[in-house]
């Protein structure tokens, strides 16, 4: 950070050095062409001791005069321009280094901070989004497992109900068979009992008729006598 102003300072200095080194000789002065020619001519007149005509025809003098027509150096400015320009530049440079650069630097830093903060926020947002996504995925997975569990449970319940129904139906069928068997047995027993009772009634009716027909007065008397003997003997 600290060497950055130095680098900034080095660049224009290098440019100045290059400019001076490659500059051609400064033949044109700050003077105008007229003043240049007047000055040269005056010098030649002085050389010819006031003989203006000679001086004007002298080829050397004419060459000097022609040189006044030559353009100043296109690269290297006049010395005073360099001084003024350099001074102004330095003042501006110092002002820029002291005031402008910190302001720019501050703006840049602020911008960098803002960008960094934005990046951080974006990062955070991304993290948040990822965590939300993870949450959704977890919930989705939970939902899937829950659904799977519910399906399994429903299947198990259905299986149980089916088994219960089958068992009940089998039990009912067994009960019906058993009842049918019991009823059949009962009906058979009842039929046998009825038959037996009927046979007994017939037999007893026949017996009663036989007994009645055989119970004449003599037999009745014997029966009564036997009864009396039986009663008398009961105590013994």
């Amino acid at each position: 950070m600290s060497n950055r102003p130095i680098r900034l300072l080095a660049a224009p200095l290098l440019a100045l050095v290059v400019l001076v080194a490659f500059a051609g000789p400064a033949s044109a002065s700050a003077e105008s062409v007229g003043s240049c020619m007047a000055e040269r001519f005056a010098e030649a007149v002085e050389t010819y001791h006031g003989n203006v005509e000679e001086a004007a025809h002298d080829e050397a003098v004419q060459k000097k005069l022609e040189k006044c027509f030559e353009a100043p150096s296109p690269i290297l400015p006049e010395l005073n321009e360099i001084i003024w320009g350099g001074g102004a530049f330095l003042i501006l440079f110092v002002l820029m280094v002291k005031k402008g650069f910190p302001a720019v630097q501050g703006a840049m830093d602020a911008r960098a901070d803002r960008i960094r903060a934005d990046l951080d926020a974006a990062d955070q947002a991304k993290q948040d989004a990822l965590s939300v996504k993870a949450g959704y995925e977890a919930r989705l997975a939970d939902s899937k497992s829950e659904a799977s569990r519910l399906i399994d449970e429903a299947r198990g319940d259905a299986e149980k109900v089916r088994a219960d129904l089958i068992a009940r139906a089998e039990a009912d069928a067994a009960g019906i068979r058993e009842r049918a068997a019991v009823e059949s047995d009962a009906a058979k027993a009842q039929a046998i009992a009825d038959l037996r009772a009927e046979v007994a009634a017939i037999a007893l009716g026949a017996a009663e008729r036989v007994v009645q027909s055989s119970l004449d007065a003599e037999v009745q008397g014997r029966l009564i006598d036997a009864y009396i003997d039986e009663v008398a003997g009961a105590n013994g």
């Binding site: 037996r196 046979v199 008397g221 029966l223 009864y227």
Partner: protein, 176 residues
Amino acid sequence: MADTAVTGYAEALFAVASAEGDLSTVEDELFGFAQAFRSNDELRSTLSDGNVPVARRLQVVDDLLEGRVSATTSVLLAMVVGAGRSAELPAIVDAFIERSAASRDKAVATVRAAVALTADQRDRLAAAIKTATGKDVEIRVVEDPSVLGGVVTEIGDDIIDGSVRRRLNQLRESFR
């Protein structure tokens, strides 16, 4: 209630019959009438029917017994029927006979048989019952064809069943 009425009427019959001095005759006649009353549905329903006027019922009794029973028996029966106690008549007669026997220190043995017992058989049966139960009894014979043969004796709540009917019933039970 009914028992009280039955006992009361029986006492009354006993008192009147004793006072008139022909207790034994009255016993026999009342017993005979009670047997007829038990076995004859028409007689029983006529005398027990509250819709038949009392005079009509008394007339029936008079017609039935006229000249066949003593005056005391006739009056006593008229009293019971006239009081509207015809339905309890057999119970009243039984209680009266028991009361009379008790006055002679005897119990009543009601004997049901298909045929009448001879006097000798009655005496021997009374002796046999005394031997068997220790009670002096008076024999009252009821002719009951449903007994078929043999005898059924009832002394109070005790029953000595030697009937052919019982044997047949036992046979019927054995068939079951």
